[in-house]
Symmetry: C2
Subunit: 157 residues, 2 copies
Amino acid sequence: MTHEVVSELNLTSLLSLSFSSSINELHERLSELGFGDIRPVHGYMLKCITLNGATGIELAEFLGITKQAVSKMVDYLEKSGYVMRDNHPTDKRGKMIILTERGWLAVRAKEKILHEIEERWIKNIGAERLQMLKEDLTKLVIEANEGKLPTTVRPVW
Amino acid sequence: MTHEVVSELNLTSLLSLSFSSSINELHERLSELGFGDIRPVHGYMLKCITLNGATGIELAEFLGITKQAVSKMVDYLEKSGYVMRDNHPTDKRGKMIILTERGWLAVRAKEKILHEIEERWIKNIGAERLQMLKEDLTKLVIEANEGKLPTTVRPVW
DNA sequence: AAGAAATAGTCAATCAAGTTGACTATAATA
DNA sequence: TATTATAGTCAACTTGATTGACTATTTCTT
């Protein structure tokens, strides 16, 4: 087994750098496609609004932020044309946040780019190593979160 | 080769989650040791202030933020007793930011905790897998940054 | 050596993304 | 039915960043 030169960086720094590399590449490419007004924070929100839409409370729980913060983000994304507020079908207090056509375009573009990034990693380190990498990271995330994947899918500092 | 169940998370999400797991654990444990006033942003700065101290400009470049932002962070860390501003030995405009005794205690505690986290990962996935994981992440970070490790060691969104 | 340009740092104002607290309207429960 | 809980918004504040303006030095160009 040959061991190539590996930097002196600790694992946490490596994770930080590789995460920010990925997220930066994603948003640079989204920007080139005309989705420059979506910032990383918004990406996580769009991801959570599925076919049926989502309520503000659901988004807040998913993102791990307050409903007030969600409300402001929705203001921004609505103004930018990515989402719309619709009446909740059964609860007159509530609102459904749904993707607009442009919102769907952005989500699909994001998925495509992430897929391409992953494909490039496969070219780079091979499918087996990528698979191992994902397995190991999954294990470690689960271990750090009392045996289950966290429900909040956003970096929480 | 057996492939265990792996979540449907994409790589970028996994990196995000594993990074925030690590950084959260680090700061929870720092907090228990009485370093609760150090937030993740500050950790990166302390790391950069080595034996000889550093100038504000050096810190700004290292962290990828403006010198004004550094100045404010130094205000905070000075007030909290982790660093001190000293005269620059040759440049009367400049100041050297140096660690106080408490600053060194925090840095050493941080290194110890990161080391322990890494040890636990070795127990969890084995030394070989951890080595591979680090090699792969290093490769990918280098590939994403025009062939070299980035000089900025902080997540940039 | 003198004058011009660059640099290190700070101050002030602003922005972005979050927070807490107060409020309205509706829904659920006792 | 009266009370309590919930969904969402508004307003004020906090934190960590930004840009722009300024001072004091240093370095570069004649």
